[in-house]
Amino acid sequence: MIPELGQLALLLALAAALIQGTLPLVGAARNRADWMALARPAAQVQCVLVAFAFACLASAFVRNDFSVLYVAEHSNTSLPLAYRIAGVWGGHEGSLLLWLLMLCGWMLALARFSRSIPAPVVARILAVMGLIGAGFLLFMLVTSNPFERIVPVPPNGNDLNPLLQDPGMVVHPPMLYMGYVGFSVAFAFAIAALLGGDLSAQWARWMRPWTTAAWCFLTLGIMLGSLWAYYVLGWGGWWFWDPVENASFMPWLAGTALIHSLAVTDKRGAFKSWTVLLAIVAFSLSLLGTFIVRSGVLSSVHAFATDPKRGVFILSFLVIVIGGSLLLYAWRAPKVGLGARFEMVSRESMLLVNNVLFVVAMLSVLLGTLYPLLLDALDLGKISVGPPYFDTVFLPLMAPVLFLLGIGPLARWKQAELPALAKRLRWAAGVAVLATLAAALVAGRITLGAAFGVLMSVWIVASIATDLAHRLRPIGPAPVSLWTRIQTLPRPLLGMMLAHVGVAVFAFGVSMVRTYEVERDVKMQTGDTTEVAGYVFTLRGLRNVKGPNYDAVQAVVDVRRNGTPVALMHPEKRTYRVQGTALTDAAIDRDIARDLYVSLGEPVEGGAWIVRIYVKPFVDWIWGGCLLMALGGALAASDRRYRAKQASEATSPITATLATGASA
């Protein structure tokens, strides 16, 4: 009975979404306040219904109701409760429902926190989101109904994919989807601006916190996915340029360009139509990501659901949404205007370079991901694209980004003087060079990549420190405490600095791991010892362990350095009983300066095992950097200025800039 209620809720939600997507739009065009006012309640009704449907599916999982096909395919009575709940989004249908739930969450937040935005704008924004919701509801109801029953009812379920039975995987998809779907808000703002023909700096200010928030979620989602791949896939890599990873990375690149271009639109009223285009592109790529993962157009190891029939629906949906909005863009963009002028050397021009580089990087990832398909569709031949392509194309594009990151935030808006900039940054440059030389001395050997990574990381941090010192210098005769002076700094500025430090930390971690990681595959028997990078690993013994739904061989590995114990590690090789799949559970000893990573390979004759041992210096900095970026974004998005009442915002963008200082 409960699953049928869930299905009914989805049908009703579709009706609510259609109302939300049409009437307010017409109302905004004809200036009918009563029709526009429908947007908020319709969104709320849709949200309640979708949340109810989601709860119905979750309850089917919790109650082990295997009469529901989706539950039977993705759960099992022996699956722990937490994973039964996570199983809701362990497959295609449930992932869509989660996507929709996230969309509703964003709509609800928008309906709640948009009092300061004029009614026609809110009506248009919510209507666009309603239409997106309607498209996804239709997709679910037509091709992927999560509530479909199965007769006869199987006695037990097929179990959740063991790769997904992991705390990281419980959190990763919701975060990623929050990010994907969050860009729908920016998209809806862009469409509303095109429809209304108005794109003021004020409009950019409304849009900024939403976009930044979505970007934070996406950053966290990608970070968690990478972390998950690192310890679950068992070969110690953190990024594989896999199509599914690229699918989440492309919207991130476009979104990063978008938040920077929005800064220009907000502060200087420039880059207007470019911002609109980026907002459309960022969300289009989120949809494309869904398409790539779900349609099977590109098969990949971790595309968990592939069904070409669904692909036809998603592609049609993509054509309508993306094609439609780009058509609207081509037609209406001249209306939104160009904005203020700026000089060759200015913060605008540097942000423009940032934007161009990010967009080119995004296009190169897109090309690499779709290249095999494109060539084949043209009958031009067959080719495969692997990490070598991405490394050679992507890294040179990011190098100037890192370099400019040290300069851009210190350059003035509208017009900056190169000699003055060089003078302000000479200390930062000196510190960076010295730090690189010191690093080379300490490490004993250094590669070009590592040298560049250290140089750029220190350069970025030193430049931020220069900026901060300049802003915090005492002004006037009255002594003000440092803490008070820090508090007067605008939050978006601090957020930007924090996120940029995150970039430096990330770049440092990447260059260290790529250069200095040590990897050893050894055959070990109980009692055997091997030394890797100064650490002595001893296999103390092997034992059998019984998990709730798997059996495992667990190794006990003792690690010492110079005779003192460092860690006791327990890598496992698990066999999940229901599906019979084997899974490597790596043991990781984390430390700020290095990770020790031990995983079990294959058993060999004589009771020995192939053991993979890695020592990865500074690998956690990679995710730490991502975390800092997300925190910085959150700090910037939380600024009160964005929530200020409409009345106080009649000031022009120029005076606003003067009033708040040249912040992010």
Binding site: L277, L370, L373, K382, P388, R612
Partner: protein, 177 residues
């Protein structure tokens, strides 16, 4: 002001959509290979584990063999690998690896880590032989008969099911011939 540039994104997207549409119609596993029932392209490659030993196509004449294209950077190869390892253990047919666009160190390290099912691996650093074989992506598997004629081509990972339903019946008929 000219407005034509505003249409550029739309045009690009329409092109992309057309390709994706075409892509949906393609099943990558069903791409017909012009090579099937033709003699395998001639090649002369060194062994992955020994740069001084060269192997030519004609060295393989007289026996039925499997050519499996792999690379250490290839994700799907890892999925396929356990299947290959257990199939090699059955000793049905020699499996020759074609290490495609890789380096010797990475390739050998990969084999050491995940097990080596291959009678030998040929080292195709630049992917030239791969091009001759019409390699579309990695992994791919070819069945080549005693006369050096390609009898079957599979794009994508081998599965135990494919081995049982496609490869083994074919090997049986080739072995009798």
């Amino acid at each position: 002001m000219k407005r034509w540039h505003l249409v550029v994104p739309l045009v690009l997207f329409v092109l992309l959509a057309a390709f994706l549409w075409r892509g949906l119609r393609l099943d990558p596993r069903e791409v017909p290979s012009p090579l099937v029932d033709k003699p395998a392209p001639a090649f002369s490659l060194t062994r992955l584990d020994d740069a001084s030993r060269t192997v030519r196509r004609d060295d393989m004449l007289g026996k039925v063999w499997l050519l499996n294209v792999w690379a250490s950077w290839c994700e799907a190869c890892r999925t396929e690998h356990p299947t290959l390892v257990s199939f090699a253990k059955s000793g049905t047919v020699p499996i020759v690896g074609l290490n495609y666009k890789d380096t010797r160190t990475e390739g050998l390290g990969w084999l050491a880590r995940f097990g080596d099912p291959y009678a030998m691996s040929l080292f195709d650093e630049k992917g030239r032989v791969g091009i001759d074989f019409g390699v579309y992506g990695v992994p791919e598997t070819f069945v080549i008969d005693k006369q050096g004629v390609v009898r079957f081509k599979l794009i994508g990972p081998l599965t135990p099911e494919l081995i049982a339903t496609k490869i083994q019946p074919l090997l049986k008929s080739l072995g009798d011939a």
